[in-house]
Amino acid sequence: MKIIAINGSPRKNWNTAALLKCALEGAASVGAETELIHLYPLNFKGCASCFSCKRIGAVRVCALRDDLAPVLEKLGSADAVIFGSPVYLMSVTSELKACLERFVYPYITYMKEKASHFPRMLPTAFIYTSGAPQGLIEQVRAGLNPCEGLMDRVFYEKPEALFSYNTWQFQDYDKYEHSAFDLGDKAKQKDEQFPRDCETARRLGARLAQRAKELAAG
C-alpha cells in the first residue's frame, strides 16, 4: 500500500512540508509505504489544452512528457494521495494548480453518461497552511482550491482537509516589514498551535492509510 504526498510549497523544509511529513509518518505507522514529492524542483507546466485525453479511444492520462509525467503515473497508481499547499493571495499555489490540472483533468469526461474515467475509489486529502489567521481564511474558504470540490466526482471519495493558520513566515521577523502581524500571537502559534497541527496531520495520515487499506481489502 503506497501513499504519496505532494508538496505544493516552494519551500522544502517549512510549514507545509513539515505537516506533510507528519501525515506520512502517520500513514507509515499503520503500515503504508510513503513518498514525499516536491513540485518546485520539477520542470513542468500546467495543462496545455492538447485535449489528447478527450480523444475517442485515447488513454485517460496526461499526454505531456516532462518532469511531472512520472509523478502523475505514481499518483494514478497510489492507494491514497495527500496534497499540501500554502495559501498565497487566497489560493493554493500556481504550482499545485498546475499539477492538479494535469492529474485531475484527464479523468474528467465531456460525456453525459459518466463524470469520471478513474477506475476506483481513491482517498485524498488537502493540507493548507496560511500566514493569515483563521478568520480571514474562512472568509475565502470556498475559493481556495478549485479541485477540492471536484475530487468526490472524479475519485468517488470526499477529500479530507486540514488547515494550519497564522503560521510563522520568516526566520527573523526583524528583517521584514510586518506591522500587519501580531508577533506575540505568531510566536504562540508557532510554539503551541503548530505542534498540535502536526499531531492532527499524523492522525489524518493514519486515517487515510487505514481507509486505503480497507479499500484494497475490498
Binding site: 489544452s49 485535449f51 490540472e101 485531475v104 483533468y105 520568516f170
Partner: protein, 218 residues
C-alpha cells in the same frame, strides 16, 4: 503610451489569443504602442516565498531572475495591461496564476500603514474565455480569478473585464468524446457569437488605451 497583453492560454492561436489580438488592435487604433506576450513559451514558476520583496530595505519587485523577469519589468512600466486566460476548472490557468503571483505580491504590503507599494493608477483588463456556458461561469464568477478582486487595492484602479462563453474547444468535435456538448450550438456560437466577442474585445482594448491616455495626461 504602451499597452501590454499577456496571453495566459497555452494555445497561441485559439480563442483567447484571437480576442487578445483584437483588444490590441483596438488599443493601437487609439494610438497605443502594443506588445503581446505568450506566457506558455517562457520558462518560469510562480512566487518562491523568498520574501525579498518584504525586506525592510527591499525593492518592491520580484527578485527571481528567470524567463518571467523581463515580462514583469515591462508590466511595471506599462500604461495599461491586459491579462487573458481560458477558464480551466472554473479558474484562470495555472500559467497566468503563476505570473500574477509574481506581479501582484511584491506590491502587497505586510504593513498596517498602507495596502500597496504601487504609487500610480494602472488600468488593468481581464479577458476570459470559457468552453462552459454563461450560467456555469456566473455560478463560479466570484472565484474565477482571485487577483481580479485584489486589482483595485494594488493598482488603485477598478479592473475592466470581458467574457467569451461557450467557445469551441476543438476544430473537429467528431474526433473527441463530447456528448455533454451540443455541437450545433457550438458551431452557431463560433459563427455568430464569437465574431461579436471579437468586436467587443476591440472596443475593450480601445477603452483601456483611452483611459491610459487620460491618466498619462494627468
Amino acid at each position: 503610451m504602451k499597452i501590454i497583453a499577456v496571453n495566459g492560454s497555452p494555445r497561441r492561436n485559439c480563442n483567447t489569443a484571437a480576442l487578445l489580438e483584437q483588444a490590441l488592435k483596438g488599443a493601437a487604433a487609439a494610438s497605443a504602442e502594443t506588445e503581446r506576450i505568450d506566457l506558455y513559451g517562457l520558462d518560469f514558476k510562480g512566487c518562491l516565498s523568498c520574501y525579498a520583496c518584504k525586506k525592510l530595505d527591499g525593492k518592491r519587485v520580484c527578485a527571481v531572475k528567470d524567463g518571467l523577469a523581463p515580462v514583469l519589468e515591462k508590466l511595471r512600466s506599462a500604461d495599461a495591461v491586459i491579462f487573458a486566460s481560458p477558464i480551466y476548472f472554473v479558474r484562470i490557468t495555472s500559467g497566468l496564476h503563476a505570473c500574477l503571483e509574481r506581479f501582484f505580491f511584491p506590491y502587497c504590503t505586510f504593513s498596517n500603514d498602507k495596502q500597496t507599494f504601487c504609487t500610480r493608477r494602472l488600468p488593468v483588463g481581464y479577458i476570459y474565455t470559457s468552453g462552459g456556458k454563461k450560467e456555469l461561469i456566473d455560478h463560479y464568477r466570484h472565484n474565477l480569478n482571485v487577483f481580479e478582486s485584489f486589482t483595485e487595492m494594488v493598482f488603485n484602479e477598478k479592473p475592466r473585464v470581458m467574457f467569451s462563453y461557450n467557445t469551441s474547444h476543438f476544430s473537429d468535435y467528431s474526433r473527441y468524446l463530447h456528448s455533454a456538448y451540443d455541437v450545433e450550438d457550438k458551431a452557431r456560437q463560433k459563427a455568430e457569437q464569437f465574431p461579436r466577442d471579437c468586436e467587443a474585445a476591440y472596443e475593450f482594448g480601445a477603452g483601456l488605451a483611452v483611459r491610459a491616455k487620460e491618466l498619462a495626461a494627468g
